[in-house]
């Protein structure tokens, strides 16, 4: 039986042993500096091996981990494409040590290869698969190596691994608790065959990527053994301990340098995965002395839909914000979280029952990005870290999945890396955000080229581009998002799904008066004859989402505008599916943006004329895009005067605000209004 306490226990660093402290003290001058860098190079080498060998698009988008852990399972160092995985490796290792190390029917021996993808055991969701190898030298267990990557198929009731229509865990396909898939440095073909059977929509990807993960682990294992062979096991023990201690000390000092304070923020999610609804996620960040507390009390209860998460998912998403912003310059180790308490209320959709459906949990966890983006920015504003103030990314998780038989006759299922890797980055305290910046979970990943996708999938792109006006406006504007439009090509039909949120209500916010970004809908065109129209030389076909959705071009077919959370949609040859990502929030008042900067935005097609005139209140010549500075000043003064007309004393505003309440239909999964406490039973079968 699953023991839920394993996650909390495993996330805490093991206390240092006397032997480790003695070994750390015995390190020679320069040993720490030299060998900590050396571990990083080993990990980079491992990651390169995995990336070059693997297939899954998410592996190339950077949803990856290669990491070294102590013999007792604490993170020492990692190279990863997403900081989510800074928290995922410890739980399965500690579970194996607790449950199997002393069990003669399983055991932990040199040459073993373990494997798992069960989120209950520390992962984010079951598409994330991990290989784990114990490292021995002279008969002593000296370390663990873990490599992991997201894989876009799990054998669930929908293709693609993120099952939007799942009701419980039983709809979500393969979920392996840690099992041994290799002994004596050899993989067991019977177990690989079992996995192929689970993942029969994409068996080739499954086996190739298992091998890629294992090869990465093995490469790091060899390097660690070489180092231990030369310098002894004590060096590794001491080095590992020192690395954990030093990250911990650095984080503690930085927190202590911030003024004490309490910062709060809320955001809303607009779907349960099954139906449109309003759910709230709340955070309270407390800075006190040398500790941070992140408390998600006030978050809505769990529900029957597919958009739930476990505590570890939330912890992983906190790690993304923490390691990408305030602590981006520290080495990764388990010491990072020693001074940060993360509290996730039981029964909330951030901490659901083990039976809940969670394969879409990154969408839920991504609510943490705007929550912490805002409160950490406020906490850092008066500190030396002001240059790290940033609202971060929008996070609707625009994951389009495609499944079917491709033009080469091979069964394929995969995420489309575009537009997933194409969100805008939020505005900073001193500059604009970044247009089409990347994937917030793993910002270094790559969006694929059109020619990459069209060579492997039976798709033709009608357009793939930046999307105007998707950013949040402000004194500094957020970066814009992107749009992609697929036509089914070369095959009679193809299945799509997409797991997303924020088609109706943006979960992300601007900073200090900056605008939130827009929401983005899903678009389909049924009965389209676009291929025939192209062949006939039709001049007037859509080149962006606005033209596609408006139906104002010569394109024939039925246009459907829908929420981007879509269950299976089977499209025939020539039919169209479009998806897009949001930009990110702005910073500061729109009326403070330099008129010239607004004109540059128009020139670069980042914003429309309408936005320049009606949001930024810039008066200009539409031909030359030269602003009339006097007229702009007058227009902005008038706008400020209008704002003042709406102004009221705070108490008066609050009194009226408290009386307001969304429609009952919108808050049926919200929990009690306004506390969001659970107010009904969730039944899962």
């Amino acid at each position: 039986m699953f023991d839920p306490t394993i996650v909390d226990r495993a996330m805490r660093s093991e206390p240092a042993t006397e032997q480790e402290l003695a070994d750390a003290a015995a390190l020679g001058p320069g040993d720490y500096e030299i060998f900590s860098e050396n571990l990083l190079l080993m990990l980079q080498e491992g990651k390169e091996v995995m990336t070059k060998m693997g297939i899954s698009s998410m592996l190339h988008s950077g949803d990856t981990l290669v990491a070294i852990f102590t013999a007792r399972g604490d993170l020492v160092s990692a190279v990863l494409g997403t900081y989510l995985h800074a928290v995922t490796g410890q739980v399965p290792i500690k579970f194996i040590l607790e449950e199997f190390a002393g069990d003669p029917s399983v055991g932990v021996r040199e040459g073993d290869v373990y494997y798992c993808n069960e989120a209950l055991y520390g992962g984010i969701h079951n598409p994330d698969q991990f290989a784990l190898m114990p490292v021995f030298n002279d008969g002593e267990l000296i370390a663990w190596v873990v490599s992991g990557a997201h894989q876009s198929e799990t054998g669930g009731s929908e293709p693609g691994g993120e099952v939007t229509q799942a009701h419980t865990r039983h709809d979500e396909g393969m979920k392996l608790t840690p099992i041994k898939i290799g002994e004596s440095y050899r993989l067991k073909n019977d177990l690989l065959r079992m996995m192929e059977n689970f993942i029969s929509r994409a068996p080739r990807m499954q086996v190739t990527d298992v091998k890629a993960r294992v090869a990465a682990c093995d490469r790091v294992r060899v390097r660690l053994q070489e180092l231990a062979g030369r310098r002894g096991n004590g060096l590794l023990r001491g080095l590992f301990r020192r690395m954990i201690q030093q990250t911990s000390a650095g984080v503690r000092r930085r927190i202590a340098s911030w003024p004490d304070g309490v910062y709060r923020h809320v955001v809303f999610m607009d779907t349960t995965g099954h139906e449109a609804a309003l759910l709230r996620a709340s955070v309270t960040l407390t800075v006190k002395g040398d500790r941070l507390t992140i408390d998600f009390e006030g978050t809505s209860p769990e529900h029957e839909g597919s958009y739930n998460a476990f505590t570890n998912v939330i912890r992983g998403h906190c790690a993304v914000n923490l390691f990408q912003f305030p602590f981006h310059d520290f080495p990764l180790s388990s010491g990072m979280l020693e001074h940060i308490d993360i509290r996730v209320p039981d029964g909330s959709f951030f901490n659901a029952d083990p039976e809940a459906a969670i394969s879409c949990s990154p969408l839920v966890g991504a609510l943490v990005f705007p929550l912490l983006g805002v409160v950490l920015s406020k906490a850092m504003f008066p500190t030396e870290q002001r240059d790290l103030v940033c609202g971060f990314c929008s996070s609707s998780a625009s994951a389009v999945m495609v499944a079917g038989t491709n033009q080469h006759g091979v069964r394929v299922t995969d995420f489309m890396g575009y537009p997933l890797n194409a969100y805008g980055l939020g505005a900073r305290a001193d500059k604009d955000g970044v247009d089409v910046f990347g994937f917030p979970h793993g910002p270094w990943g790559k969006a694929p080229d059109v020619e990459d996708i069209e060579a492997e999938f039976p798709l033709l792109h009608l357009y793939q581009r930046q999307q105007r006006d998707t950013c949040g406006f402000g004194r500094w504007r957020g970066g814009v998002g992107a749009a992609v439009c697929y036509v089914v090509h070369q095959v009679p039909y193809l299945a799509f799904t997409s797991s997303q949120k924020e088609a109706k209500f943006p979960a992300h916010n601007g900073l200090y008066g900056g605008y939130s970004m827009t929401v983005v809908p899903g678009i389909r065109v049924l009965g389209s004859s676009v291929l025939e129209q192209m062949a006939a030389g039709e001049h007037d076909l859509p080149t962006n989402d606005y033209e596609l959705a408006s139906g104002e071009t010569a394109l024939r077919g039925e246009v459907i505008v829908e929420h981007q959370t879509r269950g299976i949609r089977v499209l025939k040859r020539g039919e169209i599916l479009a998806a897009s990502t949001q930009g990110s929030g702005g910073y500061g008042d729109v009326l403070e943006r330099e008129p010239e900067a607004v004109m540059e935005d128009v020139r670069a097609d980042a914003i429309s004329d309408w936005t320049a005139a009606n949001v930024y209140r810039v008066v200009y010549d539409p031909e030359t895009l030269i602003p009339d500075l006097d007229a702009t000043r007058r227009a902005r003064d008038e706008q400020r005067a209008r704002r003042l007309e709406h102004g009221r004393p705070y108490a008066e505003f609050a009194a009226e605000w408290e009386l307001r309440r969304p429609p009952e239909d919108a808050i049926r999964y919200f929990g009690e209004w306004p506390s969001a406490k659970p107010n009904r039973d969730v039944v899962r079968v």
Binding site: K52, H408, A422, V434, F439, G445, Y463, Q464
Partner: protein, 715 residues
């Protein structure tokens, strides 16, 4: 007429290596950025004087001049290129701006990539308003799905010209498979705006500049080429005039980053990027062949960076994975040379947040203000400051005495900013800086070697660059290597390297063939299709060599294939054992080589032929071998080096301060031997022979350093 002149023009110095009538010489002069031909002329003049010739005589005896430079890249970094228009498929106008999303991180060091809040995309070379979409479309087979709308295109063209565009880049989807629309667009431009109308407005087609799959990198290649074309062309005209004025009428060849070279007027600008380090790599391979070193790591430690490249089993056949030029990822076959931020100017810093962890580099003091000891206003402690305090460098002989180093400034910087915070003595702090930088460089060598599937202990290091010989023993030990060679021309090694290069053209073509179908069901049997691709590339090579005045019959061909298991995104480039195929056995031979190279680079655990095996691209190398230069040797001088001894200096090593003998490099003779610790000085470098290392001078006057015991180093 057997003489050769090699020129490598860098940011600060122009290096020159000349070989004529059985003698060789080399020199450095200041680069003249306003007119490169002046610095080049001065270098040739100085080399002529060293050979006791006048410049005209030297040029008269010279059969070939080869040259490399990276200066065109400065135009790129400064965004001083021409105003260009980009013509692409409608709906895909933002490909360069999107840059696969995370373009903001391309070309940045790892630590900077982690700082998300500082992310900024590079300033585009062609702004959005100068990019137009045309109504056309091809599919993945190169079939036309939507014909080119010519009227619409002509309207777009007028829009670009009205905005002052002076050149065009045309990059359409799938054009590398079928360039019909790109070529038609060029015809339309030439028809509408012929030379007499507006002067020269060059048109660059992606299908010609880089006929490879992936529209982002094909477009970056074409844009960079167009952007650099004009300034490179002007630069070459100046150099050509200078040489012709001196009476030179023979070929002027340009070094390519592919490892080859071609006539300057047949050199695409993108291929000349990083030519210098690549020439150094090729030179190492040639020296290695001569001296029996089949595995060499060439290292070049300068002021700000540490460059490495590898010769493996006599071959230089390693290419960069997703190379970047400035901040642009390109799909060029660029020989793999790596650069990390470790040099004499690397700054040492105590990181208080990390419990006083000492970090060295990658930040550099550069040449201005430079290390504290330069006394030019620099306050930060650097590696050169440490080297000076440790007694390795002579304050009066640095850069041939052109710069007198301030020991006082170095001491203050290291004492105040490193020793005091760490609570250690100043000399210990200096030694720690040296150990850390050596370990960092050694670890990089180690990683690069093993990632390619080789054991560093099987390699010898060639140490070049101003700072390399002082640290070579240190980074060799850190990489667990025991042999270092410092050649007499180490400070102008890249220029020397080009003297060893063949005329080599590299042709690439993306073509997909399924070598083995999934499930291992069937081998490729389209032998004619495979052979036709190779024949097309060979025909291209014949045309180019004939155009350069060479005999195409002398050309030798080598075929490489980009291969992968079914579904994989990355390819492994494999040396094809065959130029033509005609049987299943040939297919099996191709697979066997792929399997061997894949296992070596990654892991045999990753072999998965059941997924199928695909060929993605063909790379044909056409080589015209150049006659090997004769070996120039000096007379044997006996084992005793005392004739070269100039004195004694106290220098700090791990064991403490040691009175260390100092020798003059110019006076060491073949056969001389000495044991470390010792210091060997010349005008432009200092060789530190560390304790446990021994030095012997070989017949070419190269210094061969050997670690006395095989005991491993730190890493």
């Amino acid at each position: 007429m057997s003489g050769t002149i090699e020129i490598d023009i860098g940011g600060t110095f122009t290096d020159c290596y000349v070989r004529v009538d059985g003698t060789e010489t080399w020199c450095k002069t200041r680069t003249t950025p306003f007119d490169l031909s002046q610095g080049m002329g001065q270098a040739i003049g100085q080399a002529a004087r060293q050979l006791e010739l006048d410049t005209a005589e030297l040029l008269e005896r010279t059969g070939i001049i080869r040259y490399s430079t990276t200066l065109a890249m400065n135009k790129l970094i400064e965004r001083k290129g021409p105003r260009l228009g980009l013509i692409t498929t409608e709906g895909f106008e933002d490909t360069m701006l999107v840059g696969r999303g995370s373009q903001w991180s391309d070309g940045l060091p790892f630590k900077e990539q982690r700082n998300i809040a500082a992310a900024v995309k590079p300033l585009p070379l062609i702004p959005k308003q100068l990019t137009v979409g045309v109504k056309e479309r091809l599919d993945y087979r190169g079939e036309v799905l939507r014909p080119l709308d010519e009227d619409h295109f002509l309207a777009q063209l007028d829009r670009l010209v009205d905005q002052g565009v002076r050149g065009f880049v045309v990059s359409l989807l799938w054009s590398f498979l079928n360039p019909v629309h790109e070529r038609r667009i060029r015809e339309l431009i030439e028809h509408e705006y012929n030379e007499s109308y507006l002067g020269s407005m060059p048109v660059f087609l992606s299908s010609e500049v880089s006929p490879r799959k992936f529209e982002y990198t094909r477009t970056t290649m074409t844009v960079l080429n167009a952007y650099l074309h004009q300034s490179m062309y002007e630069e070459l005209i100046g150099i050509g005039q200078q040489l012709r004025g001196g009476g030179y009428r023979k070929p002027l060849m340009m070094v390519h980053n592919t490892g080859g070279m071609a006539s300057v007027f047949r050199s695409a600008a993108v291929h000349t990027y990083n030519g210098g380090p690549v020439a150094g790599l090729m030179g190492s391979a040639a020296l290695g062949r001569d001296d029996g070193h089949r595995n060499v790591v060439i290292t070049d430690m300068g002021g700000t960076s540490f460059d490495i490249a590898m010769v493996v089993e006599g071959s230089t056949r390693f290419y960069k994975f997703a190379p970047t030029i400035d901040r642009w990822t390109v799909d060029a076959t660029i020989l793999d040379t790596r650069s990390i931020g470790s040099g004499g100017g690397s700054i040492a810093r105590v990181n208080e947040l990390l419990d006083n962890r000492l970090e060295v580099g990658p930040e550099s003091a550069g040449s201005m203000p430079g290390p504290a000891c330069y006394d030019q206003g620099g306050r930060e402690p650097t590696v050169t400051d440490a080297d000076l305090l440790l007694g390795y460098l002579s304050p009066d002989r640095f850069h041939g005495g052109q710069l007198v180093l301030s020991r006082r400034r170095a001491e203050r910087a290291i004492r105040d900013r490193v020793a005091a915070p760490l609570g250690i003595e100043t000399d210990e702090a200096a030694l720690l800086i040296k150990r850390i930088i050596d370990a960092k460089m050694g670890a990089e060598i180690y990683k690069e070697t093993v990632l390619k599937g080789y054991d560093p202990r099987d390699f010898v290091i060639y140490a070049a660059g101003g700072a390399g010989p002082a640290h070579a023993c240190g980074y060799a030990e850190a990489a667990r290597m025991s042999r270092v060679i410092v050649h007499p021309f180490a400070s102008t090694f890249c220029a020397y390297g080009s003297s060893t290069m063949d005329v080599l053209h590299v042709y690439e073509r993306s073509r997909r063939y399924t070598l083995l179908t999934p499930g291992k069901k069937a081998w490729l049997d389209d032998y004619a299709g495979f052979n036709a691709v190779v024949e097309e590339l060979e025909a291209h090579a014949v045309r180019d060599f004939a155009g350069e005045g060479f005999d195409p019959a002398q050309v030798r061909y080598e075929l490489e294939l980009d291969m992968k298991f079914g579904g994989q995104l990355n390819v492994k480039r494999v040396a094809s054992p065959l130029l033509r195929v005609g049987s299943q056995a040939d297919m099996e031979a191709l697979y066997a080589e792929f399997e061997r190279e894949f296992s070596e680079a990654y892991s045999p655990l990753g072999l998965h032929p059941e997924a199928g095996v695909e060929i993605e691209a063909f790379v044909l190398k056409a080589r015209l071998p150049q006659p090997a230069a004769e070996r120039i040797e000096a007379p044997y001088g006996g084992a005793d080096p005392s004739g070269a001894r100039t004195g004694t200096r106290s220098a700090r090593f791990d064991a403490g301060w040691i009175d260390t003998p100092v020798f003059d490099l110019e006076r060491l003779a073949p056969g001389n031997r000495l044991a470390g610790p010792a210091l060997v000085e010349s005008g432009d470098t200092t060789v530190v022979v560390a304790p446990r290392w021994a030095l012997e001078v070989d017949a070419r006057r190269a210094l061969v350093l050997t670690l006395a015991s095989e005991e491993s180093g730190d890493v």
